[in-house]
Amino acid sequence: MNAASWPRAHVRQERLLVVDPESGRHDDVTVAALPSLLARGDVLVVNDAATLPASLQARTADGTLVEVRIASLHDDQRASCVLFGAGDWRTDTDLRAPPPSLAPNDRLSFAGDVGARVTSVSSSSERLVELTLLAEASWASLAYAHGAPVQYAYLEHALPVALAQTPYASVPWAVEMPSAGRALSFSVLRDLAVRGVRVARLRHAAGLSATGDAKLDALLPLPERYSIPAETVALVEQARRAGKRVLAVGTTVVRALEGCFQEHGRLLAGDGVTDLILDAHFVPRVLDGVLAGMHERGTSHAKLLSALAPSALLDEALTHAEEERYLVHEFGDHLLVLPGALPRRQLPASSRSPLRYSATIDAAGAADSSAALASTSANQSRKPFFFTRT
């Protein structure tokens, strides 16, 4: 499928492919129809992270140009970054020149006389480095003053920051737009409210989707921080108790909610880090459905979908999307997997329910409940591959 090369004027008119496991059908509608596909009391959970202009130009000590893309912000001054050789988004990521090798204590200088020090280099790839800003600079200020949104070669022009945001974006935790949320334009949000569909929010630091280094790409997505407000936990649990359905808007929401559940055995309000990989072993415990962007087969998004809909139906739907020339990537068309593939479940709140798949009991994790907190073996938290060379 082709990529949308620029945002289109009217989100409501963008296409929405609806996959309905209950009926075994797929349908072509538009985003405007979304509210009518959901029921009063259903809950959509969105990621309200704003997108930081995370691509920065810098020079090494000897004057060599590099592109620095923030992968993960730890605080005002420290970030994990992926380096590229001189150039920018207009060149295909895979064809970008590699960056020069850097070592701990090497310096980079950014616009506005801002400097940074390499504090470590990843053992997984020398393109992934930890940078600490010098003096009183902050990554947010630097990015907004001199950065540009991370974007890819299929876009027609340089993307203004304003266009790289979801309609309800708040705090800039994301380095790429959590673009499934684009479907919830102001008027769609109003229509959802009229319909009685609740929209709850969380915040997740959506990360880079490509690094130009196959070894590093294989490790994506990196562990990403998230924060779930208490009212969102309450809304989701209330919906489950009432037999209503909970849908994630985008894979970042899946990672946050299911990652939280996996770690704690229930949804817990507050901050965390998720390294959940949506692979063949993934079984959703919180979500019934998902609203996502349209993506090619074989991507990580496709793996998420197969956890929520039968493969035969998905396969048929994607073939149809290809034939009908749906557009992909962040400004592309949309796909909705309705609930129906999985039996409705009560969410455990104060008591644990038995897990549906084989698991190792992590007795050390059990806190306040008589039932043991179990965790999966397949999706067992991978240790973050953090840096061993300093």
Binding site: A140, P160, F186
Partner: protein
Amino acid sequence: MTVPHVPSAPTLRLPRTAVITGASRGLGRSLALALAQHGTAVALVARHKEPLAAVVDEIRASGGTAFGLVADVAAPAAAARIAGEAAAHLGDLDLVIHNASTLGPVPLAPLAEGDEAALERVLAVNLVAPFALARATVGSMVLRQAGVQLFISSDAAKEPYPTWGFYGASKAGLEHLARILAAEVDGTGVRVLSVDPGEMDTDMHKDAIPDADPSTLQRPDDAARVILARLYDVTAASPRAERASAASTGSASAVRGSTL
């Protein structure tokens, strides 16, 4: 001219966070100081670094939380930058005050002596920039079902004062934009208001009317206190501002400061 007195019934709790544009002097500075005094963490936007830093320092010296963003609200990408950087420092934004304004060329001149480029600049600052910043921040407010968009206006938006053509037209446009935005967010819990603070002793007033007698003008600190008292549950009304009027949610409200 008498001003109707409407008993205020502010129901909102003070905002935890606020962005104020044009915050290095005049009403913007006063609003920032007053909010910070009440415990609001504020992001202040202005074009010039030194006067902005002075206000930030003043707030911090009193124990308040403030950050300065040097920006021209009408610059390309300014709205995304202001919204993003303010939220990066403060978290979710509860209040956005669209205060930064320009008179256009001074001394003020009749329309027949004006030129399009100057009008476009006035509109860019006074109408388009507030629209852009509102657009960048209102979506999050709708999602949270809370928040206030406050547009600073003027009676020049209503009264046909000769030589106030550019400024007056831009503020008339701004007030109507605010009314429509209010209608669009009606029922979401987000409040949209425009406010006429009345004449104040500020640099902008001096630029417009150099011969004005300052003793006939409000202090911007007093106007700021009245405005906040009408919006939020705070005991703030100063005696001079007593005869302020306010309309309620969902429509543009005019808070007229008193003049002696």
